[in-house]
């Protein structure tokens, strides 16, 4: 009995502390002079702390003297004006918040809301497309209807019926009070649910792949160098910041999509500069040949088609930050870094989720009308790399599938005739310690190693370092008997002709070439090779295993034809 009494006493003793913790009294929302008001507190009588927001109802209105007949009006201050609301204007209880958070009584750090902003994905789209770019939507939208049809339309929103009890809608509308409980500051920022590990965001936003992504799971922290990346949260690791690594629910510099910064790449490179993420992508982008994401601003649109029409490159054209992981894969399967991104399949159809890495490259380097042109002028000209790598071609490097040639003795193990390679095995940042992927290189075409294409290049391992990664140098220039001597050694070593002059490294499209004239990636560089003056032919003819003849003129030497077997 005595024990129970003590327990009871302690229970009651505890109550005031609990109450104090959960009421508005000790929060910044106590604007009465009893509040933790900044500066001096007066001993004067206390204003009712509720009336800062809750206007007392006056049943007896004052009568306007100018209209003696009029009787004055009692206003309903809590009117829900959804029916007359112009879309995007704040309604309901949000009006109450905004009338203080306007830079006077409260600062606007957490309450700037601009009119005429529509929410659902489709409408955002139309805003981007129109000239209404002056609409600053740097805050999470409020006062819009969040119902099942919106959830279905967005496809990445939780159904309103499954929201937890802390998340409240007001007449089906999302208001300030959905995320903020103005009476309770237990979670900081008056949040209804803490946003550590993005708990608050993900109660509504169900982003595909997010749960397993690195941005959700990485425990990486800032190394203390450069700019501190998480100035708008109290959290100090990638996983704790979650969505807020890149997004800011209020006052976002990037406005649309509430990104931290208006330049797309800044949202990535402030961490991916070696100071949070282990690799420095920024330094790669600044190399002379790069996918220069700094060059384009405001062209990328997340709703854009898989096939890219407006020429640009942003980090998010190749990476889906909601999906990226550091999972490895084997060619041609796309690895975790490029998980969940759009691409063009080998047959030319668009896909929202690539399966193979090359599908991503084909967004811009295949059927895109603004694709970069091929750097070498060849007898068969083709800028569409999808057509160059097609498995029906007479010859191609094995990107979509194993190559055509079943006898390639130069291949260095583990490569074999049945190997498949990535685009990024050749096109990647140079440097042994550089992160994978074609971010930037000191070599043209973002090649991982040196690949000299000029005529009169002395043969050396360094000059054809790229080719010699897979094709063993000694095997190319010294082995294979007569073929090696008469063809490779003769041209590459003695004549200083670049590999690139006879070989087209990507492949020759089946619509333009054939197995007789274009096997072994033969497609001559027209700036060096010209037609044979006697026969007027410019042609390679395959004569079977390690045999062939050429009709051409090169280095003043007419081949009309020259044959090897």
């Amino acid at each position: 009995m005595r024990n129970r009494l003590i327990l009871l006493a302690f229970t009651f003793l505890g109550i005031p502390f609990i109450l104090q913790a959960q009421t508005i009294r000790n929060t910044p929302h106590n604007l009465s002079i009893s509040g933790q008001g900044i500066t001096t507190a007066s001993s004067a009588s206390e204003m009712d702390m509720c009336s800062a927001c809750h206007t007392p109802h006056r049943a007896v209105p004052q009568t306007p003297l100018w209209k003696q007949s009029a009787t004055g009006t009692t206003y309903k201050t809590y009117n829900s004006s959804t029916t007359q609301a112009v879309i995007g204007q704040p309604t309901g209880s949000s009006l109450l918040c905004l009338s203080c958070h306007d830079g006077t009584i409260a600062l606007q750090t957490n309450s700037i809301f601009s009119p005429h902003i529509n929410f659902s994905g489709k409408n955002m789209q139309s805003i981007q497309g129109s000239s209404l770019s002056h609409d600053l939507s740097d805050d999470h939208p409020i006062s819009f209807t969040y119902d099942a049809s919106l959830a279905y339309a967005d496809n990445e929103l939780v159904l309103p019926s499954s929201l937890p009890k802390e998340i409240k809608l007001e007449n089906e509308q999302l208001q300030c009070t959905t995320c903020h409980d103005p009476h309770n500051n237990m979670n900081g920022d008056f949040l209804t649910i803490t946003n550590r590990y993005s708990e608050l965001c993900i109660t509504c936003h169900e982003k595909q792949y997010w749960n397993s992504s690195s941005h959700n799971n990485s425990s990486a922290r800032w190394n203390g160098v450069g700019t501190y990346p998480w100035s708008h949260t109290p959290y100090q690791s990638v996983s704790e910041n979650g969505c807020e690594n890149c997004h800011e629910p209020h006052g976002a510099g990037g406005q649309e999509r509430l990104l931290n910064y208006s330049s797309e790449e800044d949202n990535c490179l402030y961490c991916h500069d070696g100071n949070v993420a282990s690799t420095d992508i920024q330094i790669q982008i600044n190399k002379p040949y790069s996918h220069n994401v700094y060059k384009y601003i405001g062209l990328h649109n997340p709703e854009e088609q898989a096939l890219l029409y407006t020429s640009h490159v942003e980090c998010v054209d190749c990476h889906n930050p909601h999906a990226s992981t550091n999972a490895n894969a084997s060619a041609p399967i796309a690895n975790g870094f490029i998980r969940g991104v759009k691409g063009i399949e080998a047959n030319g159809n668009g896909t929202t989720t690539i399966q193979f890495e090359y599908e991503l490259c084909y967004r811009c380097h295949a059927d895109s009308p603004n694709k970069p042109a091929s750097p070498t002028s060849r007898q068969i000209d083709q800028d569409n790399v999808r057509l160059e790598f097609d498995l029906n071609n007479p010859s191609y490097h094995p990107v979509e599938g194993p190559g055509k040639n079943s006898d390639v003795p130069s291949l260095i193990s583990p490569y074999s005739e049945s190997s498949i390679i990535y685009c990024t095995d050749c096109h990647a940042s140079n440097g042994a310690s550089s992160p994978a992927g074609p971010h930037g290189s000191i070599y043209p075409h973002i090649l991982k190693y040196r690949y000299q294409t000029d005529d009169n290049t002395p043969e050396s391992f360094q000059n054809y370092e790229l080719c010699y990664q897979c094709h063993e140098r000694n095997s190319i220039i010294n082995a294979m008997g007569m073929f090696g001597r008469k063809v490779h050694k003769k041209h590459i070593v003695r004549e200083n002709a670049s590999c690139n002059i006879c070989h087209d490294p990507h492949g020759i499209s089946s619509s333009q070439g054939n197995t007789t004239n274009n096997s072994h990636l033969i497609n001559f560089d027209l700036s060096v090779v010209s037609p044979d003056p006697r026969t007027s032919k410019l042609e390679y003819v395959s004569l079977g295993h390690r045999g062939g003849e050429c009709y051409l003129s090169c280095h003043g030497e007419n081949h009309s034809p020259k044959r090897y077997r």
């Binding site: 604007l31 009465s32 002079i33 008001g37 900044i38 500066t39 001096t40 507190a41 007066s42 004067a44 009588s45 206390e46 204003m47 009336s51 800062a52 206007t55 007392p56 109802h57 006056r58 049943a59 007896v60 209105p61 004052q62 009568t63 306007p64 003297l65 100018w66 209209k67 004055g72 009006t73 009692t74 206003y75 309903k76 201050t77 009117n79 004006s81 007359q84 204007q89 704040p90 009006l95 109450l96 905004l98 009338s99 203080c100 306007d102 830079g103 006077t104 009584i105 600062l107 606007q108 750090t109 700037i112 601009s114 009119p115 005429h116 000239s131 770019s133 002056h134 609409d135 600053l136």
Partner: protein, 366 residues
């Protein structure tokens, strides 16, 4: 930190005045005017008061408020004055500024409307007769994070506050430069600002310090008025301020839900108002101004209305309710009344300035 910005070329500013004053002639030529404005791109259209305006249904013997116009008057016209300019703009990618969230408003003597726009983070100067907006920002890429109060100061200069930067900015007449009034004066969230022509003093409200700082023309602090509290001369989150031509100061003591009227020295003359939702009470009082008859106009953002009191605090009249139509408001904030008794209200979430006219009654009540 002086920055350059482009000054507006002189326009025929007086045109609009004549139009407004000559309302009868306007009524006759209304159709012609609309026709002309449509084709010439003049976007400030004046609607002669229509019989259906609620404010107009009373006896004309009584003083009254008329809705006379708004800026922008037409969404399409504001984009560009004419098709060629629009085409040109589409080539050079120039965006035409427009109001986004006007917060405070001020009309200078050369009929230039000044608007503090918290949406575009810029100070907008508007030639209302041509609808041309000149936006002033701190630099090309940085705006003002939290513009609040604006007023005229000595020699035709204009002062405005930014409550986040804790600064008062000064634009001198005919100069192209924007300068800090006084870098060494430290202010704690300056919001409302007013200038006493009588004493040549700048009164700026420090909301977070619950007091008013009185400065001289150079921005040097002369004295503080008030401190936190609920008694006379004490403030709890004071916000907007107005000084009339006789030097009397009107302060919105927002979280005490009252108006305090002070003399030039800062002593209380009278106090009125309390919290409540009915007419004559305050919910979230914002901008304040007086007309030529010393009527006090107080904007209430929460109630979406403007209430008019006499200087004893008697409730005289109110207008406005929540909505997007003429005379309706969506979180109105700033108010300014010029010497012609034209009332400018910053209708913030309707992205416009609404303009009303006060007309004294045939028998003036005072």
């Amino acid at each position: 930190m002086a920055q350059n910005f482009r000054l507006n070329s002189k326009k025929s500013r007086d045109n609009i005045n004549r139009r407004l004053l000559n309302l009868k002639a306007l009524k006759i030529s209304l159709r012609l005017l609309l026709f002309v404005t449509f084709f010439s791109g003049i976007i400030f259209r004046v609607y002669a008061q229509s019989e259906s305006t609620p404010q107009n249904r009373h006896n004309s013997q009584e003083p009254s408020i008329y809705w006379i116009g708004q800026f922008p008057s037409d969404e399409k016209a504001i984009k560009t004055p004419n098709i060629f300019l629009r085409l040109f703009a589409s080539f050079v990618g120039k965006k035409n500024p427009r109001l986004i969230r006007p917060f405070s408003v001020f009309m200078d003597r050369s009929d230039q409307l000044w608007v503090l726009d918290q949406g575009s983070h810029s100070v907008d100067r508007i030639q209302i007769d041509v609808g041309e907006i000149t936006q002033l920002r701190r630099t090309k890429s940085t705006g003002f994070p939290s513009l609040v109060g604006i007023c005229a100061a000595a020699n035709g200069s204009v002062l405005f506050t930014d409550s986040k930067l804790n600064k008062i900015f000064l634009i001198t007449k005919n100069s192209n430069s924007l300068q800090n009034l006084n870098n060494s004066t430290s202010l704690n969230r300056p919001t409302g600002i007013a200038y006493s022509q009588i004493n040549k003093e700048i009164w700026v409200v420090e909301t977070n310090a619950h007091r008013i700082a009185v400065l001289n023309n150079d921005g040097k602090l002369l004295r503080h008025v008030g401190h936190r509290g609920t008694g006379p001369g004490e403030f709890n989150y004071p916000t907007f301020i107005w000084i009339d031509h006789s030097g009397i100061v009107y302060v919105v003591d927002s979280m005490n839900f009252r108006i305090q009227i002070l003399n030039e020295a800062g002593d209380v003359i009278s106090i009125f108002g309390e919290s409540g939702d009915a007419t004559g009470y305050f919910s979230h009082p914002k901008g304040i101004a007086t007309d030529s008859q010393q009527h006090i106009y107080v904007v209430d953002a929460r109630a979406n209305r403007v209430q008019i009191f006499d200087k004893e605090g008697n409730f005289l009249f109110n207008f406005g309710e929540q909505g997007t139509g003429k005379g309706e408001f969506w979180l109105p904030v700033g108010i300014y009344i010029d010497e012609r008794d034209r009332i400018y209200v910053a209708d913030s979430y309707n992205a416009r300035i609404q303009i009303f006219q006060y007309k004294p009654g045939a028998t003036n009540e005072k």
